[in-house]
């Protein structure tokens, strides 16, 4: 018996040694710079390089240099929260750039991005460029002076030319010296003010797409009168349970009060207990708290996984008819359902015409932690429509750069959503992603969940959120 164990022990050791000797044992050693790729043009003469000329015309010096091949063989490391399919799509969207410039963009996604990036920044182990899904988190690092201001990497005049001012405002945050500056370049976004519906059945039943809030309420009543429940709502999401409720709040804030009030609310100047916020929540709570309006009844809202929520819409016949969620929800739809047939999408109607047609969005901002010419080139690349083109074709992203052509979208769905966003009178970012973490990723989620589970009343919930705001 003892001998057996010694054999086992030595086997384990031997195996360990053999595995260590494997070539894979040095993961972090920078991979060999991609072999110089010269696919079509062997000697790329500087004169015949339309992309370089176009970049130079926009004032993007480093990007023009990159297209001339001046940074061939350099490596730019990146990290971000998208993994799996999204990472494949991202790699695909920078493939052409890598081939043309010889810059190797090494992206490593992490599921626990928020937790790991904080540790890595503290320890001084940051990649060159980081993709932040929440400007709030970027703001923390900007205040610590760790982030390179966007204007040193990309000419400000070009940013002003290629982005709506509201995007630039959302990238502006106080730096280490307390002065506000732009600290990142927006790359892609999600549209959130969308309502999904089972199109074929919807048309067969003779329902009409509502364009005002009153029409929406009328449609709801019609569906109820026909014996069904209108909405599918689910806000369960593990530790982040409650976030879909915050999205509804934000959408209704934009529809029941001015964007100025929305901005004040995000900045913490307008408390949650103010009548504006309360009215916004009450507007949709009327739907949520009504057992006839929600599939499974009000009690199911808090316990239904947000990704499973729209599934009953695809049963035959549909068990619910409306689902409000961002465009990423299509990833959760049952396999094989088709846009334009099995489902359609419309803009969540405005409540008060006085506030126009605002659109709620979320997005990814690229921030650089180091300044090298090739990093500038990559950041400048992301600020152009070309930088997102490949992703738009693959699907799963929308581009906010002004030079993005609607024809670039690979699917009708995303082209239609982009067109809806283009019609918007104002674009505002997901408030919970902008608020301090204690609120935006904490008490706001938690208290909305408590309210809709019936544990506390609305006034208590709102007062609790106000209390948790760091002063």
């Amino acid at each position: 018996m003892k001998r057996q164990l010694f054999v086992l022990f030595s086997l384990l050791l031997a195996a360990a040694l053999v595995l260590t000797a494997c070539p894979g044992a040095q993961p972090a050693a920078p991979a060999q710079p991609a072999a110089p790729q010269q696919p079509a043009q062997p000697a790329a003469p500087a004169a015949a390089n339309p992309k370089a000329d176009a970049a130079a015309a926009k004032g993007l010096t480093e990007l023009a240099n990159a297209y001339k091949g001046m940074y061939k063989g350099t490596v730019v490391t990146m990290t971000g929260p998208f993994t799996d399919e999204d990472a494949v799509r991202f790699d695909n969207s920078v493939k052409e750039f890598e081939q043309e410039t010889g810059i190797d963009i090494q992206y490593t996604g992490s599921k626990e991005f928020e937790a790991s990036i904080t540790v890595r920044v503290q320890a001084g182990d940051v990649p060159d460029i980081v993709d932040f899904p929440q400007p709030g988190l970027l703001g923390t690092f900007a205040r610590q002076g760790k982030v390179i201001p966007a204007a040193t990497l990309v000419p400000e005049s070009w940013l002003k030319q290629n982005y709506l001012q509201s995007w630039l405002d959302m990238a502006t945050m106080p730096g280490a010296d307390g002065k506000p500056a732009m600290y990142g370049v927006w790359h892609r976004f999600n549209a959130k003010s969308l309502v999904w519906y089972p199109k074929d059945n919807f048309d067969a039943a003779g329902y009409k797409i509502p364009t005002t809030w009153d029409e929406l309420l009328a449609l709801q009543d019609e569906i109820v009168a026909d014996g069904d429940t209108p909405w599918c709502i689910g806000i369960e999401s593990g530790a982040a349970t409650g976030w879909p409720a915050t999205d509804w709040t934000e959408d209704l804030m934009l529809r029941t009060t001015s964007v100025e009030n929305y901005d004040k609310w995000v900045a913490g100047e307008l408390p949650f207990s103010s009548p504006e916020v309360k009215r916004a929540i009450e507007t949709f709570a009327k739907i949520w708290n009504d057992d006839r309006m929600v599939y499974g009844g009000r009690a199911k809202i808090v316990t239904t996984f947000f990704g499973d929520a729209p599934t009953p819409m695809f049963e035959d016949p549909p068990k619910c008819w409306l689902h409000r969620q961002g465009n990423f929800i299509t990833a959760f739809f049952p396999q094989g359902v088709q846009y334009g047939k099995d489902y359609g999408v419309f803009y969540l109607p405005p409540v008060d015409p006085a506030y126009g047609k605002p659109f709620l969005v979320a997005g990814d901002i690229m921030a650089a932690f180091r300044d090298r010419p090739e990093i500038r080139a990559v950041m400048q690349f992301f600020s152009t429509g070309e930088g997102i083109k490949g992703w738009l074709a693959a699907g799963g992203a929308l581009g906010m750069q002004k030079d993005v052509d609607l024809a670039w979208y690979g699917s009708d769905l995303e082209r239609d959503i982009a067109a809806l966003v283009n019609q918007a009178t104002a674009v505002r970012f997901d408030a919970s992603d902008l608020m301090p973490g204690e609120v935006g990723a904490g008490s706001f989620w938690r208290e909305m969940t408590s309210y809709f589970s019936g544990a506390v009343d609305l006034d208590t919930a709102l007062a609790e959120i106000d209390k948790s705001w760091p002063r």
């Binding site: 050791l13 050693a29 993994t83 090494q106 039943a205 693959a394």
Partner: protein, 371 residues
């Protein structure tokens, strides 16, 4: 007392024994039901998992539609309707009206596009099984990526094999190194006299209560400076450091309880400390070593945080736990793959546990009763 004992003998089995056994069987069942459910779910499609429970794969009685028709426009949906031999209002039909022969008539859907089904209660089982989950987990997912020029290319996502090997590369040395060091240390603490022994041992025991999370940032800072960050050596050292206090403490308890006479006779015969350690201590403490090896192996194999911080999440170096977490997609949309992934990742720990479990129980008891 004796009369009772005799009567117990007569029955063969005592009621107490029956009670204990039944309770044990029940407990085992309760413990294994979630695992069985997981196993069954890993062979089901995502839509099935979402819409019906895993227990529906067992034979059960359920309503089965035998006849279905679309009610014409002449049917007054707001009044009392006569459909398939049943009479009632819309609400009653939605709830289902039972016919005298046991069948029921059910209205499915709303008033506008709904249909009427006649259903019968039958024995059914859900046998719609698939191997797709395991295929995607083991072979990697395939992504179809549309290119700007309209063509589509297929990209093969990374599979389990590289992550499995990485996990092995991390786990084996991270199990063996702390055991070796801890065995030496435990011997030293137990059988060698040197100044400061008590103080040092107290420090080791005190380290048991330090949570590893607070050490992440300082260690990572040092690793960045030493260029150890992202290497396997770095994570072996980290796991060794985090595992050593418990290992030393456990092995000390065992080694210090070995009979003094054996060691003394060895000394008298002129054996050195090293000879005693390799020829006597190691063979004698096999149960303790094995039980700690299981502990450490499972802990490192299942570890996510330490690996995430010290070797990162790049596809060539990520370990199994990271691969599983990533498999569900950026937003958790492929969570149904977790079932299959969990079973694949469970395989090796199960093999290790069952091959070493003989020592495990003995090792746990080791040192508890001195003498």
């Amino acid at each position: 007392m004796t009369a009772q004992a005799v009567s117990r003998k007569k029955h063969g089995v005592s009621w107490g024994q029956v009670f204990v056994n039944v309770t044990l069987i029940l407990l085992v069942l309760i413990w294994t039901i979630p695992t069985i459910g997981l196993l069954i779910s890993s062979f089901r499609t995502r839509f099935d998992i979402q819409t019906s429970g895993w227990w529906t794969v067992f034979p059960h009685r359920d309503w089965v539609t035998v006849e279905e028709f679309q009610p014409g426009p002449e049917v007054d949906r707001d009044g009392v309707m006569n459909l398939a031999g049943a009479q009632g209002t819309f609400e009653e039909f939605r709830a289902g009206i039972t016919l005298p022969d046991g069948r029921r008539v059910l209205w499915i859907g709303n008033k506008r596009i709904g249909r009427v089904a006649v259903q019968e209660r039958q024995w059914v089982m859900n046998t719609n099984f698939t191997l797709e989950n395991y295929q995607e987990v083991l072979g990697g997912k395939t992504f179809e990526v549309k290119q700007p020029d309209g063509s589509t290319i297929t990209v093969q996502g990374s599979d389990f094999s590289s992550a499995f090997i990485n996990s092995l590369i991390v786990t084996l040395p991270a199990t063996v190194i702390p055991i070796l060091i801890a065995a030496f240390a435990a011997y030293g603490f137990a059988w060698m006299k040197f100044p400061g022994r008590r103080l040092l041992f107290t420090m080791v025991v005190a380290l048991l209560v330090v949570p590893l999370q607070i050490a992440l940032v300082p260690i990572l800072k040092d690793y960045v400076r030493l260029n150890l960050n992202g290497t396997f050596l770095g994570i072996w050292l980290a796991h060794t450091g985090f595992g050593l206090p418990l290992a030393t403490y456990l092995l000390f308890n065992y080694i210090s309880s070995l009979p003094r006479d054996i060691l003394e006779s060895a000394f008298i015969d002129g054996a050195s400390h090293f000879t005693i350690f390799t020829r006597l201590i190691l063979p004698l403490s096999v149960p303790a070593l094995a039980s700690f090896a299981i502990f450490q192996f499972l802990w490192v194999w299942n570890d996510y945080l330490v690996a995430l911080i010290f070797i990162g999440a790049s596809p060539d170096s990520q370990v199994l736990t990271q691969r599983i977490a990533e498999m569900v997609g950026s937003r958790g949309n492929d969570w149904h793959l977790l079932t299959a992934g969990a079973f694949v990742s469970m395989l090796l720990p199960l093999i290790v546990f069952f091959s070493l479990q003989r020592f495990f129980v003995r090792g746990l008891l080791a040192g508890s009763v001195k003498g």
